[in-house]
């Protein structure tokens, strides 16, 4: 298993390399540069700054300079947040994004799996139809629509929850962003769970468990839950990616100083190193989490384990 994990990690290197090259080309292809401002600098000052950050070099030269820094673990300085390195900015933003993402994922799993299981047990009956209605709705509406609607309803109209992040103490500020982020995932996981649970509940070994007299709750807990979770587990990889993407929007809407916000600002400011740093960081994170998912898959399915 260890050997398998190591091989997979090695296999991820070309993927990461491709991500870096594409991201590098794309930030540089965007019109403008990090030091273009409304207030036009004198040409000699501008040239000095360009030279200081090596922006006067050719693109391949800049790329190799960046890569050699990367190999030493140096993501470079931020162009716009003066005095901060990209690593420091990631260190500041990521803990907040991580809390947000982990909470959203936990919420999505708990609510999604429960709702999906309930729907499977009451297949084609009222509870099933209600769950599936909301799941369809949740999948259809994008995060950037859900977020303002929730703010409008719970913050502006009802005054139950804070609309933003800054100046709010206590966990209340997490509620709306986490729900916004989790909703599409809840919907997706509920649908997946329902489908795989229906499949598993129709298997012969569930009939055997019923023939042994076990009650429905015990059958779900002991016999059905683990196999029914396998498709959900496979979805965790894409789900993590979706939550990362979602967090970019959510942090902007709620004004949360997480990585997503740095990313959006960085992109707007042509802060090349910051954008690249965050892309590489997230790509590595997603690749590693996918690996964890695969290893867990082996742990859940004894037949995959032996290879």
């Amino acid at each position: 298993m260890l050997r398998y994990a190591l091989l997979r990690l090695l296999g991820a290197i070309p993927t990461l390399l491709l991500v870096i090259v594409l991201a590098f080309l794309m930030v540089h292809a965007a019109p403008g540069g990090p030091f273009d401002d409304e207030r036009v600098l004198p040409t000699d000052v501008a040239a000095n700054i360009q030279a200081a950050y090596h922006l006067d070099e050719s693109l391949p030269q800049q790329f190799f300079r960046y890569m050699s820094g990367l190999l030493r673990g140096d993501l470079g300085p931020s162009y716009r947040y003066r005095d901060y390195s990209v690593s420091e900015l990631i260190g500041r933003g990521f803990p907040i994004s991580l809390q947000l993402g982990a909470l959203a994922m936990a919420l999505a799993l708990i609510v999604g799996v429960s709702a999906g299981t309930l729907a499977a047990l009451r297949q084609n009956k009222l509870p099933d139809r209600i769950v599936m209605f909301f799941a369809m709705t949740g999948i259809s509406i994008p995060v950037f629509v859900i977020a303002p609607v929730l703010v409008l309803l719970f913050a502006v109209k009802l005054h139950w929850l804070p609309a933003g992040w800054s100046g709010v103490t206590g966990p209340a500020k997490f509620i709306l962003p986490v729900i916004t982020l989790a909703l599409p995932q809840i919907a997706y996981i509920a649908r997946l769970t329902r489908a795989s649970m229906i499949d598993i509940l129709g298997r012969d070994f569930i009939r055997t468990a019923r023939a042994q007299g076990l009650g429905t709750a015990t059958i779900i807990r002991v016999h059905a839950l683990k196999p029914a979770m396998l498709p959900v587990l496979s979805y965790m990889g894409p789900a993590i990616a979706a939550i990362v993407t979602g967090s970019v929007v959510v942090e902007e809407v709620f004004g949360i100083p997480g990585l997503g916000q740095f990313f959006v600002r960085g992109a707007g400011n042509r802060d090349y190193t910051l954008v690249l740093g965050i892309v590489i960081f997230y790509a590595t994170l997603i690749v590693s989490l996918n690996l964890v998912v695969d290893v867990l898959y082996g742990a859940l399915d004894p037949r995959v384990r032996r290879r």
Binding site: D204, R210, A211, G213, V222, H223, D301, R303, R307
Partner: protein
């Protein structure tokens, strides 16, 4: 009052009755056989007894278990009947056990749920049960997943699960159908040994099993109970025509007319054929190990053996469907070489194959006329479509089907019809050799007899040579001229039909014959002749591959692989064939 009473049981789906007004009773500690062909409602009845029918089933009538009504029972009442009053063993243990859960945990859960034991006590009881059902190393088995066990061992686990709560009635639904015949004998013996005072409802299509293990029998025909009575009296004088038909269709290994040997010239000859497969990182799997075999013109040669014996790999190598590692196959004077795609078209045409699962072997997207006519597109591309259709029509008549079948899809055919289509597809090219790989294994008795009769008729009319691969010795007895017996990739004995069955020379042949249940209650079932199970092909035993299971094995058997030699009328690969007496 009986333990179980069923009165006027009717089960319907969407108004269509699958069980129709069935009444019977089972007393404490008696053994009852429930027989019938597939689709006769046997399994539906069994599921109904435990209240396990799906929601859509419309159930009427009464089922009373020890005074408690099953139909309309609450979940709590049902839970008290299941496992503790009635235990059940299903057919396919791979599907019926949870593949994601260690077997110990699956069975312990039954004790926990029914409050029969807790904690270490429960574990100890499970381990004791594993010991009783004959699982080797029971403590270790506790931690094993179902896929790590052989089919026979898994069925022992099913038996342990069914009996752990000490029920009054054990239902066994085709408990040995998926197993090899020597393992079947072991499981049936175990069933008898363990059940003690537990009543038994044994559901099977095999009248031999009923004859050997049941005091009474119930006969089902398309959802109706048509005959019931003591096994001995029903076998002696059936009360219903269907019972008579079932008995007539049940082949007997111990009697009947063996087809006389055929003296044709050799048409196909395999020399020292060897086939191995790579099994991932676990090594080489020795499927066929130096087999010499010849087929005569116009004869049916049966190749028999249990799963893993290499019988299918052998013929697949002959056909070029799997690569041969070494050896040679000669057909009509020419050597057959390379994978089938590279062989000359004429050679391919002369050797045709039909498979076990008739419906699965036919493309579900194609109509019968396309399926049967397809080989002509390759082998006779010049044929006009109307000429092709005429050929298809003619061959359908030959296999006993009609024009009305031409436009059907495979799912619209019965199993017997689908197998006839498969045969028609093979025969339309007028091959010289037809290879039937378990071709009648999936068919019910009466349909099987019809398909066998068709094969005999085709052979009589066209002098076809047939290689008939089968695990069913009783069928082999009735169809083949000669029989080759394989074990773990080795050919252990070849002889004419009569010779082989009346005087087997190899201990394995003898054990195989003895393990076949005889459909006659007067003939007592023999003691399970073989201990243990077929070993691993990854690490085959040294010397004679059969020695670990052989009662006659001596030192030489462990060291040297036996050469084939002629003893009596048989060709046998056994060091001791000349000295041992197997007639007892």
């Amino acid at each position: 009052m009986s333990f179980l009473e069923v009165n006027g049981l009717t089960i319907a789906y969407g108004g269509k009755r699958v069980v129709d007004d069935v009444s019977f009773a089972i007393d404490y500690s008696e053994s009852v056989g429930l027989v019938g062909e597939s689709g006769s409602g046997k399994s539906q009845t069994a599921l109904a007894l435990l209240g396990l029918l799906p929601e859509q089933a419309e159930v009427h009538g009464d089922i009373v278990v020890d005074g408690v009504s099953v139909i309309g029972a609450s979940a709590k009442q049902l839970s008290r009947i299941r496992a503790r009053r009635i235990g059940i063993v299903f057919q396919d243990s791979m599907q019926a056990l949870n593949p994601y859960l260690k077997i110990g945990k699956q069975i312990r859960q039954i004790l926990l749920w029914h409050d029969l034991a807790t904690g270490d006590d429960a574990d100890a009881r499970v381990i004791r049960m594993f010991e009783r059902v004959g699982l080797p190393d029971p403590e270790r088995q506790f931690q094993v997943y179902p896929h790590e066990l052989s089919g026979g061992m898994r069925q022992r686990v099913m038996l342990a699960a069914a009996l752990i709560a000490e029920p009054d009635l054990l239902i066994a639904d085709e408990p040995t159908t998926a197993l090899d015949v020597t393992v079947q004998a072991q499981i049936l013996e175990l069933l008898e040994e363990l059940r003690d005072n537990t009543a038994l409802l044994l559901i099977t299509h095999d009248l031999g099993i009923v004859a050997g293990h049941c005091e009474r029998m119930l006969v089902f025909e398309s959802g109706r109970l048509v005959d019931a009575g003591a096994t001995t009296s029903l076998f002696a004088s059936p009360g219903h025509a269907h019972t008579r038909a079932l008995l007539d269709a049940a082949p007997r290994i111990d009697s009947g007319n063996a087809p006389a040997p055929v003296n044709g010239r050799t048409i196909l000859c395999a020399e020292a054929v060897e086939v191995t497969y790579r099994d991932g990182e676990r090594g080489q799997l020795h499927a066929v190990n130096g087999v010499n075999l010849l087929l005569r013109e116009g004869e049916t040669l049966a190749v028999v053996g249990e799963s893993g014996s290499g019988k299918s790999s052998l013929v697949r190598a002959v056909l070029g469907l799997v690569p041969m590692i070494s050896g040679r196959v000669v057909y009509a004077g020419a050597s057959l070489e390379g994978p089938v795609q590279t062989r000359p078209v004429a050679q391919r045409r002369d050797l045709q194959l039909i498979f076990q699962d008739p419906v699965g072997a036919l493309n579900p997207q194609m109509r019968v006329q396309e399926i049967v006519g397809e080989p002509l597109l390759v082998h006779e591309p010049g044929l006009t479509s109307s000429a092709r259709l005429d050929r298809v029509r003619a061959i359908l008549v030959k296999v006993g089907l009609e024009d009305s079948h031409l436009r059907r899809y495979p799912h619209q055919l019965s199993g017997g019809q689908a197998q006839r289509i498969a045969i028609a597809r093979a025969l339309i090219l007028e091959p010289k050799v037809l290879i039937c790989d378990e071709a009648v294994a999936a068919l019910d008795g009466s349909v099987r007899e019809q398909v066998l009769a068709l094969l005999r008729q085709v052979q009589r009319e066209s002098g076809l040579s047939i290689i008939f691969i089968s695990h069913d010795l009783a069928v082999v007895r009735s169809i083949s001229h000669r029989v080759a017996v394989m074990y773990m990739g080795c050919l252990v004995e070849v002889a004419d039909n009569e010779q082989l069955f009346s005087q087997p020379r190899h201990p394995y042949t003898k054990a195989l014959i003895d393990a076949v249940p005889v459909p006659d209650p007067i003939v007592a079932p023999k003691k399970a002749a073989l201990r243990g199970e077929v070993g691993s092909l990854l690490h085959p035993p040294s010397g004679c591959v059969f020695h670990p299971r052989c009662d006659y094995a001596k030192d030489i058997c462990k060291k040297e692989q036996p050469e084939a030699m002629n003893v009596g009328g048989s060709r046998v690969a056994c060091h001791r064939a000349k000295e041992i007496d197997l007639t007892t």
